[in-house]
Subunit: 636 residues, 2 copies
């Protein structure tokens, strides 16, 4: 078993595709981590905005969390409908393409891609940030830890979604069980104490009020709290990962994710009021997150506390996984439409779209490197993509239902309610998007707003390249043959050895015109010459035996390689030959040691490969490249 | 001008090699930064060991620094002799190879390589550490800063040593001027004040003594202080970078480096005594380095102070550059002897040994990543290599002089003194090495001691591969030709288009036996079939025209690609053909879109390349690969 197989598992055949699909049990860890993880930072982001109100802020938590829960409900209903209407892939890209046209679909795809990449960086850096707060000795390792977790998630996903879903099930369900239990205990205590429970460990005291409540402040708090909803769209995007019956598995997964998220958000909001928990400033020493204060207040500082916080850390770090499931699938669809390079659409050795996975890992790794793995710097760029997607997707669904209403049919009442659900959803998420953009613009949202149109232009350029290629390469005429005869064969030699022997044997069987080209000065200016010996040997060891065997004797040409590269002198010589012999095509024959082991690439370098690539790139269409392997241990 | 040219400069021809060599002015920045930079951490390391003695330590500074200066003098004389005896390359590798044999030379080479890699990581992390202490806001960027500086130095060196020497001249000479001036002012003040000058800014108070002086403590302080000597060997290793007269330029550079280093070390030691400056604990808040305390005590906290400290930071960060000059040259020599892969011996586009530079950057970058850019964790691994090298090099010189003494000649007296200088040097550095190994073993020196023999084994394995290859590939017999005729040509097709057309045209001119192989299911399980259409089209558009033109009509074969890779079914089919047709050789013809622009590699993927590589790797010796480019815009 090779290292690749140990890391990534055995190669899978096409027929195994069905067995690799998942159900709801694996669906929640595979697609829900992003949504569930946002319960950790969504409420906290809203409470942070409310801090200037002091202890008066607790009166407003309900005003913020109520609309957020209502919006979550609307999104749930909307995606329930979308999953049924688009059972193969109900992502915003497909919905927009079918209902709003190519431009809207590209906007949706770009917004999603940007958000997926950010989601990976934010999730991992938030998890590592929390871990480092708990274990300060790791502080200088923030970036290596981020990159290590990224590598782990990447490898798990290159193995396949099924394995990733199973691998992440334990921390996911541990997190859900812990926090649902903590919330239940807290609610029971609160109700028993008449709404004024006594905290086991007191949460921090709220600072004095510095502002009074304004509509703008409440809107900003609402907009920040909306980050709790990122990730809800994951199920609709990832439908093709489910096994049959797809819609049922999708509905079950969506219900589980939204249900748990709703319970968590409502419970956190209620307990924040009864226990009087406020957000703290993350840059100050002694910072404790809202969920950490809440768990401490309800159950104290025992083993259970550490289990719960530990599972939360895992969830945050692994929430990146949701993007790893959906991003490659999205890229594949866009690539199939010709807007992304074709390799994004090719299933890899484990039947996942490896190029998309690797691309996601590389870009989010770069983001982590540029922002040094600090969550705060990444957050303002985030959530714009998600709300753009929500809005486009639901706008598309509005068109979908209006079209259904226009057609004759018995389901008019049902379709009318579908229509209104999506109309309300599109309006609300659209408004939230406007608020988010305005509130976060100067802090970094402008980067996202700048990147999205650039990516759209790039996607269109890619498509226009493929369109041009397709029109050039299309061929409807029958084969036309020119009797130009075999090409002139140039044999590239570095030394006189068995490789040259074998190459000359092949060349003489391919063409009557064979010329061996020896390059001098390849290794640099200080290496001495072997040309003269070679010429003498050529006469006795090549020309004479070739004549004896009835072949035209091959010629030897020695060219200097002043810039130490092989392809320029060969190409120059080939062009001279071409000019001399009119329409003859020319083949360059490169003998090389076959690289049967990985270390042979290192030991022999890539000279043969570089020569091949340079000739294929720079040469004119009449030139072709022949590579002849010579194996260690090969008999003459 | 391409991006590559902007970054790395235009490609240089072999004949420009002479003009790229350097003199002493560029030699000091190019080769002396490692040596000069160690004046910042060498004395500090010694003073740190003396801290438990409290204010009594000042009495011992002379006892430590005296032998270190004496040893530096011995090393200077020794390398002066070596540079003259080995004017082309007097590195420990060559000296050991000529005088002590292959094993000693490999030990020297390995010790040097390990030390060069560590030196890059230590230099950069020390510079960034100092910068971050001065500007605490950058603290979370330690690792990105380290990697950024590494990238900068790598690019500068890929441009060439000449450019690097010029680029780094300003900070080098600024550092030398600043600190020589500070030391001079301090010495004048000390002498005027009768040895008890009044500091402008008071250095830290020494803590109370917790130990009394023991021989072991003094030996440890001496061993730690010896780190001040790392880098002195650089000139002898880098001789080939000098222009003629080489020995004169080498002697001048060596004198300048050792002279400046000696002045700095002596001045620092003297002022540490008169101003009563001790080392502080780097992990404690308010830490100030010895040089920072010294500069503050002599000239206060003005502009000059910041210029001096700023140039010191540059020196530390750029001290990595010394390794970038010498490491690739060393690797090249080792590769020319067959102990490292051949690409290490090939001059790159700018006449530097690019593979060595890139390898050094990659390994030291990995070290920085693993140790998170923290100097303290790297230091214990360091200096063992340097002192191993000193000892081997001088032992080699002892043998050299003994041989010279054995021969008849008039210079017996001179050679005898040479002999004794090296004998004293070898003994002293050998003793220092033993002390360093014992004192640092548990802190990390064991890693270095473990790595060195592993690398030596690897070098010998590489050599044995080349020996085996050489013996197999050698060819002294004349060319033998078998009249096996042209190969069967398999044309790999994905679609029916102009590429296939062109490929068939070439194939029919090469061989009477042409078979087109179409692979189905390449993109994954969900892509539908085009096989049937293709077969019908084949008959009318290929077979008939080929017959009409007098060629044997090519056949079409459709193979399923169950694992989505192209090479396994083609190889299987080729093996069946081979079994059927005995000794016919087989060629696989791959038509592909020529990648004239970088983005075409991304847009077309690497399928043709991967097919070629897999066939060349896995196939039997009777198989050859023909690649035919098709250019965008090419006429039929």
């Amino acid at each position: 078993m090779s290292l690749v197989e140990v890391l990534f598992g055995r190669k899978l055949a096409n027929r195994e595709f069905g067995r690799r699909q998942i159900g709801a049990f694996e669906g929640v860890p595979a697609m829900g981590l992003d949504g569930l993880g946002s319960s950790a930072y969504g409420p906290e982001a809203a409470l942070t905005i409310l801090v200037p109100l002091g202890s008066a802020s607790f009166a407003f938590i309900g005003w913020i969390m109520g609309p957020i829960l209502a919006l979550l409900m609307i999104l749930f209903l909307s995606y329930w409908q979308t999953v049924r209407a688009y059972p193969n892939n109900g992502g915003a890209y497909i919905v927009a393409k079918e209902n709003l046209g190519a431009n809207a679909s590209l906007l949706a795809a770009t917004a999603l891609m940007v958000d997926y990449i950010l989601s990976v960086a934010v999730g991992i850096s938030a998890g590592v940030g929390a871990l480092v707060s708990a274990v300060p000795i790791l502080h200088s390792y923030i970036l290596p830890l981020c990159l290590g977790i990224l590598a782990l998630i990447t490898v798990a996903n290159l193995r396949g979604t099924l394995d990733a879903g199973r691998l992440f099930a334990l921390p996911t369900y541990l997190f859900v069980a812990s926090f649902v239990a903590i919330l239940a205990i807290g609610i029971v205590k609160s109700v028993m104490a008449g709404g004024h429970p006594h905290p086991v460990i007191a949460p921090t005291q709220m600072p004095k009020a510095t502002e009074t409540a304004s509509l703008w402040l409440l809107l900003r708090a609402f907009a920040s709290g909306c980050t709790a909803m990122t990730g809800v769209e994951a199920v609709s995007n990832g439908m093709s990962a489910f096994r049959e019956p797809r819609v049922a598995h999708g509905h079950r997964t969506l219900s589980a994710i939204v249900g748990i998220l709703g319970v968590l958000l409502a419970g956190i909001a209620y307990l924040a009021v009864t226990y009087k928990i406020g957000a703290m400033d993350q840059t100050q020493a002694g910072y404790r997150s809202v969920l950490s204060q809440l768990a401490g207040a309800v159950i104290g500082n025992g083993v259970f506390y550490y289990v719960a916080i530990g599972s939360l850390l895992c969830i945050l770090a692994l929430s990146a996984n949701t993007s790893f499931v959906d991003f490659p699938r999205l890229c594949r669809m866009v690539a199939q439409d010709g807007f992304l390079p074709k390799p994004f659409a090719i299933a890899g050795r484990r039947l996942v779209f490896s190029v998309g996975i690797i691309y996601l890992a590389a870009t989010s790794g770069l983001l982590l490197l540029v922002f040094a793995g600090i969550t705060d710097r990444l957050i303002p760029l985030f959530a714009i993509g998600a709300f753009t997607t929500f809005t486009i997707s639901q706008t598309g669904m509005i068109v979908h239902w209006r079209r259904a209403l226009g057609q004759a049919g018995g389901k008019t009442a049902a379709n009318r309610s579908h229509f209104w659900i999506n109309a309300i959803g599109a309006t609300t998420t659209g408004l939230a998007l406007v608020v988010i953009v305005i509130a976060k613009f100067a802090e970094g949202a402008w980067i996202t707003i700048l990147v999205i149109p650039c990516v759209i232009v790039l996607l269109k350029l890619i498509r226009s390249y493929y369109d041009e290629l397709e029109s050039q390469v299309r061929d409807s005429k029958p084969l036309e043959l020119h009797g130009s005869g075999p090409p002139i064969v140039l044999v590239a030699t570095e030394n006189w050895n068995k490789l040259t022997d074998k190459a000359l044997g092949l060349a003489l069987n391919l063409s009557p015109d064979v010329i061996a080209v020896h390059l001098s000065h390849l290794s640099g200016p200080e290496v001495e010459e072997r040309g003269r010996d070679l010429r003498a040997q050529w006469h006795t060891d090549v020309e004479n035996p070739a004549k004896d065997a009835g072949y035209a004797p091959p010629r030897l040409v020695i060219l200097p390689a002043q810039h130490r590269n092989i392809h320029e002198p060969i190409l120059k010589y080939a062009r001279e030959l071409r000019a001399k012999f009119g329409d003859r095509s020319i083949a360059v024959l490169i003998p090389e040691v076959a690289k049967q082991h990985w270390y042979q690439s290192i030991l022999h370098g890539f000279r043969a490969y570089r020569l091949r690539s340079a000739l294929l790139r720079d040469a004119d269409p009449w030139l072709t490249v022949i590579e002849l392997p010579w194996h260690m241990g090969e008999r003459r």
